[in-house]
């Protein structure tokens, strides 16, 4: 189990996986502004303040790289410290379980694609991010930059929707918004996904934890077609010329399962991370 499961999981549900604990999807976990508190001005809400502090740290790359490396280490050593949201990669099957558990589930625009690539997603055919839980009902009160409308989905529609993005090759990443409240399942793409980028480029682990699975290749079934190679966003999968098969580096694998869902022969499967002693603590 990862540290998020230790802190927020419940063995009664989903074998202790934190994102299958109904508590992390419950209305009570959603932070509402108390009627007595005045609304914070634009840029003064906790979210902007947190991101400003993170921005200060990110700026250290240019002036003081050594201090920056130190800050990354400190942040990673203090998981749940609140500087970053908690995020974890999910394979499609677990993303679907979450979509069945959470209510409501809605498609919405992706803020990373908007910020980094100026992609405008304005209707249900364009939306690529999944919002979870009661916060979706209040979308009109969100900060403007997230407010591109929402499209509510039934569990079956959500399943179809997540499968669509999985087919296109996007990584599912469950994100928390305030404590352990699971607020969404992003469908991500490096480098415009800020969470994957913070992990791969800068070494922050918290916002993009590896999933509870690792992909393994069945060498008897793999025929070396190479379709899986282009689907790996983490540089874990290569085509090994020597053996004429796909080769997955388990230490680099994030367990997103894109290679598994993309394999036409079903040669790749996901095994529990904790079943492999060397990977038990690799998150």
């Amino acid at each position: 189990m990862c540290w998020v499961c230790d802190a927020y999981g419940d063995p009664k549900y989903g074998t202790g996986l934190w994102y299958l604990n109904p508590r992390n999807h419950s209305r009570q976990m959603y932070k509402l502004r108390k009627p007595s508190d005045k609304a914070k001005a634009f840029g003064e809400d906790p979210e902007s303040q947190g991101s400003r502090r993170l921005q200060e740290i990110m700026e250290m790359r240019f002036g003081d790289p050594r201090r920056f490396a130190q800050m990354v280490e400190e942040t990673n050593a203090n998981p749940g410290g609140g500087l970053l949201q908690i995020g974890q990669v999910l394979p499609l099957k677990d993303a679907i379980l979450v979509a069945e558990l959470a209510y409501p589930v809605a498609a919405m625009m992706c803020i990373c694609r908007k910020d980094m690539r100026a992609i405008e997603e304005t209707n249900e055919h364009e939306y690529s991010c999944t919002g979870l839980g009661v916060g979706m009902l209040k979308w009109e009160r969100w900060p403007e930059r997230y407010r591109g409308g929402v499209n509510f989905m039934s569990p079956d529609e959500a399943k179809e929707w997540l499968t669509k993005w999985d087919k296109k090759g996007l990584v599912h990443l469950i994100m928390t918004f305030g404590g352990s409240y699971a607020g969404g399942i992003c469908n991500c793409d490096y480098p415009d996904c800020i969470s994957i980028r913070r992990r791969l480029d800068y070494g922050f682990t918290e916002q993009c934890l590896k999933s509870h699975y690792v992909a393994v290749v069945d060498y008897d079934v793999c025929n070396g077609c190479g379709i899986c190679v282009q689907r790996c966003q983490f540089g874990a999968l290569k085509f090994e010329v020597t053996t004429n098969k796909a080769n997955i580096d388990p230490f680099r694998c994030f367990g997103c399962g894109l290679c598994e869902t993309g394999c036409p022969r079903g040669a790749i499967s996901l095994v529990d991370r904790v079943s492999l002693p060397a990977l038990r603590e690799v998150w």
Partner: protein
């Protein structure tokens, strides 16, 4: 010491980056970032109106100076300078 390429964006030329979006999509390492700076009554305004969105380059440490952004920029608003210390 700041050894990374410096990306200067002339905001008097680059006035509607969210509408143009050429450099944002051409950059192989996604160096650029665009953000609304004019929010009226909690709403972002017309992306074609000059000055409503502003372009920045927060990930310039990933810039390889391939100059793709300069090539695609229709208003020549981008200049990239490499610090003397790291020039080949």
């Amino acid at each position: 010491m700041d050894i990374y390429p410096r990306i200067e964006i002339d905001h008097s030329k680059c006035t509607a980056p969210f509408d143009c979006k050429k450099c944002l999509q051409a950059c192989p390492t996604a160096v650029f970032h665009v953000e609304a700076v004019k929010v009226e009554k909690y709403r972002e305004t017309d992306k074609k109106e000059p000055g409503t969105y502003v372009l920045s380059s927060p990930y310039r440490d990933k810039c390889t100076v391939c100059n793709k952004c300069i090539e695609v920029c229709p208003v020549d608003a981008i200049t990239i300078t490499v610090p003397e210390e790291v020039k080949p």
